[in-house]
């Protein structure tokens, strides 16, 4: 599904060179729920951005569904994301001018899905995240948990094969965290999607099939939880 090969990322800050990722290789399997766990500054977010094609690696390749992400032009990457990738952000990133329904249907809008069809799909998504009553609400009228549920609905609405979640519960309290996490996991399992989580929170990582510990730009260790035997470091 996702094949990370010898990825290295070096930032140049002034005269100084900062190695964010040293040399990372990893295979993520279809339908796997994989969590990258690390402290802030470990390079886990950089890895996620590189996987999503938002950043280019200094060295190495990322192959998603047989396509080399780092070789694509920005235009191609955007198209690729539109078709294959869903995103859940830490700070929700809902468009403030749009209602919950419009926010959820946004990825479908970008794909050119007709309005009545995308409204129907978005409605179903909102229903399954338990926000049926809030479809006409603007983000400012909702709590953080509700907003993140809208964000999840948006990430899953176009049924992308891969969903990235960057600290999805970073701004939520523990009770809501639990709700949001199980919601995401259920959805990923239901639609047979690959879910890639990035977090610094050990308790979140416990939800995943596999935990990849990242430390100073390297994979420190990989912890598997039964189901996905045989997957590991290349």
């Amino acid at each position: 599904m996702v094949n990370i090969q010898n990825v290295r990322k070096v930032y140049k800050i002034g005269e100084e060179r900062v190695v964010a990722l040293n040399d990372i290789s990893l295979k993520i399997h279809p339908e796997e729920i994989c969590c990258f766990l690390g402290t802030s500054g470990s390079g886990k977010s950089t890895l996620l951005n590189i996987m999503a094609g938002l950043e280019k690696p200094t060295k190495g390749t990322i192959t998603i569904q047989g396509k080399k992400i780092e070789k694509m032009s920005e235009k191609e990457v955007t198209k690729f994301r539109q078709k294959n990738i869903g995103f859940v952000f830490q700070s929700y990133n809902l468009l403030p001018s749009l209602t919950a329904l419009e926010n959820v249907s946004l990825p479908l809008t970008f794909r050119g899905v007709p309005k009545n069809m995308r409204d129907r799909i978005a409605m179903e998504m909102l229903e399954s995240v338990g926000l049926k009553k809030h479809i006409a609400h603007k983000p400012s009228q909702m709590s953080g948990g509700q907003q993140q549920r809208v964000g999840i609905a948006r990430a899953f609405v176009s049924k992308p094969p891969i969903v990235f979640a960057d600290e999805p519960t970073g701004n939520l309290d523990s009770k809501t965290t639990e709700e949001v996490m199980s919601l995401m996991l259920n959805m990923a399992r239901e639609y047979k999607q690959t879910l890639i989580l990035v977090t610094h929170d050990k308790s979140i990582a416990e939800f995943a099939d596999r935990i990849v510990y990242i430390l100073d730009g390297n994979i420190e260790k990989v912890e598997e939880k039964g189901l996905m035997k045989g997957a590991g470091i290349e």
């Binding site: 951005n49 999503a52 938002l54 950043e55 920005e74 235009k75 955007t78 198209k79 994301r81 539109q82 078709k83 990738i85 995103f87 952000f89 990133n93 468009l95 403030p96 001018s97 749009l98 946004l106 990825p107 809008t109 970008f110 794909r111 050119g112 007709p114 309005k115 948006r154």
Partner: protein
């Protein structure tokens, strides 16, 4: 993204910042209406020139006189003995765009109708050309090719008649009222002798050698409609008849040494009137006649110089207006740039969620274009109101000069052009911000707080 979604989204974004959008639009409104109103003043000037001129005569007529072309030396035919004869008429007729050529001869004759008598100019023309040259009758009919002795009178011609038996016979155009005379039904006698019908003064010996003037019986067949042109003051008859009358009159007058000047030579015309099909071809035709060596004259000459003046005025006035639209354009760019700063994060999210780059550019272009279009539309409404006001207030003291035109005219084409222009200004102003939005790094954008 389909276009409807883009439009909706752009509109939504504009409505989100109502005050700012409104202020930006206001700039465009002022810019557009100042251009439109300024230009409308120039256009109105143009129109009133045209109106004034067309009151003076038809704009697609060219007159070629038989004087002024020799001895001038400037004209290509200068020095040569050019004649305004049938040959010249034929070659003028062959110029492209010429609808008809009417050779003209004039004779000053005396016509006696019953008790009344009048001296008037009679113009010889070819009857079949009357319709081409816009002769219209009020009563009776136009000349026909078979009319040898028929005359058509201009509307004001009755002013020339008086009763010689009355003490104060001169009514003239200044008289208290036009003489009552029926030119259609009276028997008319035409003569070239200006002494016919006068009472002879006592003591003046009559020259025994002088033949009595030849008299011609003619009949009036029509009175022309009033046209506010020279047609009102002339009588018209068949060219051949007039030709004959002129020849015979010369013969009788030869003995007295009163031979007419060269302008009335038999094979030459005094004047040739050329009708051009399309008003826009007048200049070209006139130019061609000039290369033949003649000195053509048309009202278009005057119109041309008047147009030149009004074009200059329009350029100056339009330039003043353009400055304010330019300022408005800067306003649009500023608004769009601000809007991008504000929405950086949003743009980033859209990019991450898979919005096409071109869609992002389109979205911003659309917003800028909408400001331009909306401003243009409102600006037009304002322009029409201002124009209306100007014509109401200013029409009073300029009315005498401007005729019915008023001082501000906004033709439909100007309105459409203004709308298109303001939209284009919007798009152009939005172009660079839109590119910037498109090229924004998605990662930087979502990181920015």
């Amino acid at each position: 993204m389909n276009n409807l979604d883009l439009i909706k989204m752009a509109l939504g974004n504009l409505l989100r910042r109502k005050t700012r959008t409104l202020l930006t639009i206001l700039g465009v409104v002022i810019g557009t209406s100042s251009i439109v109103v300024m230009l409308s003043l120039g256009i109105a000037m143009d129109y009133s020139f045209k109106e004034q001129l067309s009151r003076m005569g038809s704009l697609n007529l060219i007159d070629v006189n038989n004087y002024g072309f020799y001895g001038e030396g400037i004209a290509p035919g200068g020095g040569k003995d050019l004649k305004l004869d049938d040959h010249a008429v034929n070659s003028i007729r062959q110029i492209q765009g010429v609808q008809g050529v009417m050779p003209i001869k004039t004779a000053y004759v005396r016509i006696v109708a019953g008790k009344m008598m009048g001296n008037l100019p009679v113009i010889g023309i070819q009857p079949e050309l009357m319709e081409v040259f816009d002769f219209k009758v009020e009563t009776g009919r136009l000349l026909m090719a078979s009319d040898k002795d028929a005359i058509v009178f201009g509307k004001q011609i009755t002013m020339n008649f008086y009763n010689p038996r009355l003490r104060n016979p001169q009514f003239g155009p200044m008289g208290p009222e036009p003489p009552k005379i029926d030119l259609m039904n009276n028997k008319l006698i035409l003569t070239t002798s200006m002494e016919y019908g006068e009472r002879r003064m006592a003591g003046v010996e009559r020259d025994p050698n002088q033949k009595p003037p030849k008299l011609y019986k003619v009949k009036g067949v029509g009175i022309l409609q009033e046209s506010q042109s020279e047609k009102d003051y002339n009588a018209y008859m068949h060219m051949d008849t007039l030709q004959k009358i002129l020849e015979e009159s010369q013969r009788t007058e030869q003995g007295e040494g009163q031979r007419r000047r060269g302008s009335q030579q038999n094979d030459q015309y005094e004047r040739v009137s050329v009708k051009v099909e399309d008003i826009n071809q007048v200049e070209a035709v006139q130019e061609q006649i000039k290369t033949m060596g003649f000195q053509p004259f048309s009202l278009t000459d005057m119109l041309k110089s008047m147009k030149e003046t009004s074009r200059k005025m329009q350029a100056i006035l339009g330039g003043i207006g353009a400055v304010s639209l330019f300022v408005a354009a800067i306003g649009i760019t500023n608004t769009m740039v601000m809007s991008i700063y504000e929405r950086t994060r949003e743009i980033g999210v859209m990019k991450v969620l898979g919005a096409d780059l071109t869609d992002i550019r389109k979205l911003f272009l659309l917003e800028a274009g909408m400001i331009g279009f909306g401003g243009g539309l409102l600006g037009l409404v304002l322009s029409y109101l201002i124009s209306l006001g100007l014509n109401k207030i200013g029409g009073g003291f300029l009315g005498g000069m401007g005729g019915n035109t008023g001082i501000s005219v906004i033709p439909f084409q100007l309105a459409m052009a203004a709308l298109a222009f303001s939209t284009i200004v919007g798009l152009v102003s939005g172009f660079s911000p839109a590119r910037r939005a498109m090229n924004l790094s998605a990662l930087e954008a979502i990181r920015s707080e």
